[in-house]
Point group: D2
């Protein structure tokens, strides 16, 4: 209805940031998939907080406990439920936001939506922490994709206006993606990382935050995957990604760059590449008519700066309807792009699995 | 499963461009809505082909025949089916694309997806013509929104790099949107229209096509609408919009501009505006945590240049696996942005109705 | 949402009995299925009115016009829409039921549900006529099942207390089912037909109507089909069947007879039957844990007597809140069981296809 | 997809009988509902094992731990997840069934469906134990129904052919239902309980099991609830109920008794009852055209005898394809009807809530 997604495989996310636990139930996974928990832990670690100073100092082990759906380490075909207990919470930090909603946070609309019953602590169900179970679900799906020769990876495309080199949309391959996957701060161009870190550090030192974009590629997806119209790969990836807090835009292939292109420039003409059908360019990001065309699926998403900043902001006290100054305490990421990348990448693994199931491939 | 959408109200689209008919079934509409067919016809006319030389010369009356779901002109609460018969088709134009798929069209992946059984004529189910039933469904929903004081409108934001003045994200109102709705080529700045038309005409004269972006606003949506996570307003609008052929990107509020922003710049602080809660800026495009915050919902979408161009393109003959030159005959839009705007705007009306139903408002 | 069903293939029914048309959209059918329209017409004819005096004298050709989803006679994979125009309607018959709802009809609750906007004529969307598009959709699916060696058939199990011989739940086979399928009044025991016809004729002569049950078998369904829990074969068949007007009960295998059984009598023990796994009895109707076990799937459904009877009935005038006598004119079936059988059987073909798609078989 | 259900509120069940835990996630509950945990515990206790000798001696505390979706004891509107840990399991009991599937259990079809990866221990996800989270979810929904004056209750209608007095379908009321709810073995006629207990005890002493039926009533549901066709109340209750292990049939109102009725007998004529619209009889079980008509909703469901019996059964060894004798050890219910009643009743509370949400009532 809301925190669940999937046409053929269902993913249900639950939990609040400072509640007992967060988690996910995946229903419709193929049976017989042997899960490598080390690899799942690697993906969880990529998203986990407390790693370095680009992220929140809140530390959580974030080791999901799998309650159902596996026998030993093999999926049974029954719904797989994983729970991550919240162990390191400080709810006292949030009491004042009831009267004075944090700018650009869900606080105010959520209090209207749920008649003031929503859990405000740590942003409750709206917290970025909820990307942990998404990451888990995707990390499971990633292992299914691997068996089908499909690799999902990405890099930080830009932060605070500092850009990385974009993927070569025609030649990006599994090797490059797997390499990026091992990096704490994945960029194609190593010098970009340094400049981006400087931007983040400057924001952090100033009690501020900063936004950025990520670029994701899916390679190995066979041509002809996806469904028509609202079942397009774009529809399904975007529906999922806008469930990730902070994501405010998505573009496939040339994306907003199409705005300046002529058809003759934009069209990806077909070529015979070593006996196989390929395209010389990939402005369509591997998707035509909503279906994969065999080229890498490429898209970028933008994440807004963390709205929680310690820098004082003037805002409104809803009780008095007077302006007041707010300085948000607590442990917050100066930039969520690196951690967001891990969450997004893995969530996309779920979406691709769902698409494969709809196509009878898994 | 694919050409249907909606969590609380279901919209099923059907039809192929050169088949007998295209149409839509809407299931779950409120009963007792008196439909104004002139207003529906106005919306259909906005999207219809053959209006002027920015669009395809193919002429279709595009008058939907309503087969069910109304008594007189009032909705009965039963599924509403509307059919638009295809009367002006020239299928002979498409025979050659079986061997030689048109670049950037669905031809090739669709033939893989459907084992060569898909209808290639006029692009079949992948045709932009399928936006007619989307527009119809949205035009019906638009009348429900009106009764709740909600207005959806938009303008051509850019074509070929020529930009219009963007909406004032805080002050855009129903009057402005309704005004734009009456224009054949809706722009905020009338001088932009002229320059955009020049761009389109130049492309047309050259047997080429050109891309662009649209900007849409929803005003009057009360705070607190939407569902959590994957039920976010962004998820639902984007899932729908990527079902519109040619759409390749979407951004809400400041969108990709967040990439260069600090949190202190990006955050929309709350203010007391004549005794009501408002925000001074609207970088979040009226959506926080996926829910409406009472400010205008603002987003932009990019549409790629029509892939059908008469200008010769080199591409691959899949039978011989040799390069060949292709010149696409037929009647094609040099630019789909203006017609696409009408389709997108109305489709968004459907999405907003679906959201309102989920919130118990309709 | 309501008049649509299906987990992996979607079936959307629309139309009102005395409106312009009724129809169905099927989304998610496999591409490349060559449809035999004569066979579809045969199934439609089984359900069609006006055949003999057991049914309503209203005559409708009921030839569905397929608007989309096929090229020649082969499915394209795009949504298939079929429309049946209503040509022989007499809406004046229904004007009085606004004030005086017909007993056991949907009139009264529907007027509450839809604020009096529902179409009362011919029972509108609640009419048994809506089983025509269900039958059509199922007749299409039946042809897909045939290619997988799956046969669905049934017989009138009882009418007015007169029973037919039940299926042999272990040995019922495609040959028997196909034979029954050709009969105008399918019974296993030919002498039962005569007695049932007498019951119906007696009811008809008295301006009355009569109820009965049908028994359906699905043979050839491989073991292991279905999903867990609410995705059980029983859940999915029953969800569909209760969408058929008049159906008020369903039982699988021994059904309500289990109430008198001990476990040792009820259990279907496994045997080696010519080298294959089979069960000696089939009390479970071929379904264990919601999944097929390879034995025939067997179930029975009960259909209540047509509520429309010309025999005078005392009921309530809602305007005056006084009792009044009502005699329902119009052309009504004295017994809907034979026509209902055709509708149910075919609808089950849709459900089985949906299940097969979920299992990756089609 | 399978273990989830609901059109407007989603219920996802997970877990295996001998796994770490079982549980439920409910997504779409109204916010602000104050939960009474004692009342939830009462419902859980009704279903819980180990109460008396009619049930399995396996003892489980079955106290659900709520991980999310509440703040204090009030629903937040975010997904509510509850987990019940499995503490008292003896998995060694199940090793032999891999080669020799238990008759009438899911073992064999599940091993085909999930390629032998399904968890066989305690029947895994197919266990009756999974009705615990269903009961929990329903017990939550029951409290929402209470606030709307809707009561759901039931009684054991028959066991082993011994029948209880059925509900008076017109006059059954909340008081009677609430009274039954407090009984360990709910029957309308206290003398029936004794005879039924004798039947169960006889089966138990013989290492056997026995089947029965339950009758459920929903009172206080306003007229006009439900959706059309496949969204009928019957469709939705039956879809849910067949997700309960052992349920093999369901009938609404007169159900299979309609088979012997004339229309003039079956029709429920309307009367003015103290100024309100009512019907003199209630053969339709409070549902017309799939919608509630304001009379009590009444239905019966049959539960087959527990397939697990210690009495020796001859069956097939799938490895050798030879007949063998099987005696099922372990702790099993000689009759699941009483516990099943609690599960079914509560699950129906969920379904009614889902219907109310679709009607904009909650």
């Amino acid at each position: 209805m809301s925190s669940n997604i999937g046409k053929y495989i269902s993913l249900q996310i639950f939990g609040e940031s400072h509640g007992k636990a967060i988690g996910a139930v995946i229903d419709g996974l193929p049976a017989g998939v042997e899960l490598n928990f080390d690899k799942i832990a690697e993906q969880m670690a990529r998203r986990a907080p407390g790693k370095d100073k680009t992220a929140t100092p809140r530390k959580e082990d974030d080791i999901p406990e799998i309650l159902s759906g596996i026998k030993g380490s093999v999926t049974t075909g029954a719904p797989l439920c994983a729970v991550i207990y919240n162990t390191n919470t400080r709810s006292s930090d949030y009491s004042e936001f009831e009267a004075m909603p944090r700018p650009s946070h869900a606080d105010y609309p959520a209090s209207i939506r749920f008649d003031g019953n929503n859990d405000l602590s740590g942003s409750g169900h709206f917290s970025g922490r909820l990307t942990a179970p998404m990451t888990f679900a995707g990390a499971v799906c990633r292992q299914i994709l691997e068996k089908h020769g499909i690799t999902v990876g990405g890099h930080v495309y830009s932060i605070g206006g500092v850009g990385d080199t974009g993927f070569d949309p025609v030649n990006v391959d599994a090797e490059q993606l797997n390499g990026l996957n091992t990096l704490a701060f994945p960029t194609v161009d190593k010098t970009a990382e340094e400049k981006m870190r400087e931007k983040i550090e400057a924001a952090r030192m100033d009690g501020n935050s900063i936004g950025g974009t990520v670029e994701i590629a899916v390679v190995g997806l066979p041509a002809g995957c996806g469904d028509t119209m609202f079942g397009s790969i774009e529809s399904r990836i975007s529906e999922a990604l806008f469930g990730v807090p902070a994501v405010k835009g998505i573009e496939f292939g040339a994306g907003f760059g199409f705005d300046k292109m002529l058809g003759s420039e934009a069209n990806d003409r077909y070529v015979n590449k070593d006996g196989k059908i390929a395209t010389v360019s990939n402005n369509n990001g591997g998707i035509l008519g909503g279906l994969s065309n065999g080229m890498p699926v490429i898209f970028r998403a933008v994440l807004k700066p963390t709205p929680s900043i310690s820098k004082p902001q003037e805002t409104l006290n809803l009780t008095t309807m007077e302006a007041e100054t707010l300085s948000i305490k607590g442990r917050h990421d100066p930039c969520v792009v690196v951690r967001g990348l891990a969450a997004i990448e893995n969530l996309v693994c779920f979406v691709i699995c769902d698409i494969l199931k709809g196509n009878g491939i898994i």
